[in-house]
Symmetry: C2
Subunit: 312 residues, 2 copies
């Protein structure tokens, strides 16, 4: 049996696991990222934690895989870290290899989750899948024939910034009309808030006690599940744009599976059934044939499981 480390580097906490070559977690641990202390300090503490878990379990790791919040080129070089005060364009693979003496590969955090779902989660056994994280924003990871499409500058799979409406709604990225501005959790909150400003006789309004700053995507789905017409209309709006964005991905990539993760995917059938019903309007017949629309399975473990698969 071969063992590797999987690291999920987050803004606040970093999750570190030792896994076998079938994706089973031997043991995992979370440490503070403390990025303010510098990249080398964080990487050294990550390696110390790996060694600690290895010693305890009497195993050795043959590789380190890391998921990074930022674009990664050639699975080594990080163009920039979202929210970290760390140097841009750094060969982080080299740094970790110098610290640990162990071969290291990195990729973008959402790509790594997609790799995890493809190898060990909802996409297991399928030759291709696209994993879409529907949360505050929308991220994506494309897996084809055993590999991630990470992109020439590490921007592969940035499907949240496909434009679905020309000159459309302002997105957090500064551009307009992004998929993310129409189908993320934030998009649902924006649309619901906008509608609540002109309609207060609905279950959603009651659910948040009339406080529009309290609206969450979950409230919309919960109200819809009680049969509230107002909330159901918002779910329909969400499903429509989700179908448009996913339809585009199906036409371009033609994967075997679409795997939906993140908070919005937890809405379950009320959203997925509407999505499946709307897809034939956007995806070509050939690209829809035999495709599976699935919920992600790995949850919080997706990051370290996918990271470990980078070095297998």
């Amino acid at each position: 049996m071969k063992y590797v480390a999987g690291v999920d580097l987050g803004g606040t906490n970093t999750k570190i696991g030792i896994l076998d070559d079938e994706g089973h977690i031997i043991e995992s641990k979370s440490i503070k990222t403390d990025s303010i202390k510098g990249m080398k300090d964080t990487f050294t503490r990550i390696w110390n934690t790996i060694e600690e878990i290895c010693d305890k379990n009497n195993v050795k790791v043959e590789g380190i895989g890391m998921g990074i919040p930022g674009p990664v080129v050639d699975q080594r070089r990080v163009s920039f870290f979202a929210n970290f005060p760390w140097e841009h364009n750094t060969d982080c693979g080299k740094l970790m290899e110098e610290i640990s003496g162990v071969p290291t590969k990195l990729d973008n955090d959402v790509n790594v989750i997609a790799l995890g779902e493809a190898k060990y989660g909802a996409g297991k056994g399928y030759e291709s899948s696209v994993t879409i994280a529907l949360g505050t924003g929308i991220g994506g990871g494309i897996y084809v024939d055993g590999k991630l499409i990470s992109g020439f500058t590490g921007a592969g799979g940035e499907i949240g910034h496909m434009k679905v409406v020309r000159d459309g709604k302002l997105c957090g990225c500064g551009q307009k009309g992004c998929f993310e501005a129409y189908a993320s959790a934030t998009a649902i909150i924006r649309e619901a808030t906008s509608r609540l400003l002109v309609n207060k006789t609905n279950a959603l309004y009651e659910m948040v006690g009339g406080d529009l700053t309290k609206v969450e995507a979950k409230h919309v789905f919960d109200a819809a599940k009680t049969g509230d017409k107002f909330a159901l209309d918002i779910v329909d709006y969400e499903a429509e744009y989700l179908a448009m964005g996913i339809g585009n991905i199906l036409n371009v990539i033609n994967p075997k599976a679409i795997i939906l993760g993140g908070g919005v995917a937890l809405a379950g059938d009320i959203l997925l059934d509407a999505l499946r019903a709307k897809l034939p309007k956007y995806a070509m017949n050939a690209a829809l044939e035999g495709v599976e629309i699935l919920q992600a399975e790995l949850g919080n473990e997706g990051g370290i499981k996918g990271a470990s698969a980078l070095v297998l």
Copy 2:
């Protein structure tokens, strides 16, 4: 030196070439496809022509690559032939191998052109490129790390049917709002014709002698090049949607190069300059960084060159 055959199977004619392993054409020949005589008859005549060219040049082929007008699965099985009365879901690789005794691979014709441009044309030396054929319709082929993204059911790269407008213009495919309905040669003709119905004092109207059935995309670009405001506005419309569609591809795939082929690409700088200027509105900075927007180089030879590369 190794030799292979490249076959570009077309609706009317089939182009057959013998090429070396660097993509140089030793000799090529065109035969009638005559699909009405059946698949086996056409394939046998293709093989006879390959043998004839081989004998004449005293070489032997070690593989046969074929570009096919239809979706191809696993580079062997053709789901259906557009416009041919041939059986669906046929293992055409096996059939050609039985006839010829030579290993055979197939892929969709636009994918094959993309492979040709990536290996021997505008994308030579780049690790990834997306080739977009802008003609009557819009086809695409995605090349990443030495391989085509042909898709689970052979529909990979069908970027002409990405939706750019929800419930938008009717497309030839029967769906609405497709990229092809806004940015193909046909789209330019539709937009020009629609505008000419309400404006006849422009150079384009004069160029077609007032006969709206005569409008071609080339007329629009020619009139624009004379400075005609009416035609320039249509070019701007074309460039806007082209930028939206290509921006989406850049965000999703993040290739090193976009290669534009087909009749519309022949418009040259008047279109490409406008496209380059508009891309930053649609593509993320990271996905635009260092990207090349190029014209295809192989022309009519793209099909056989790309097909030959399937078996190298």
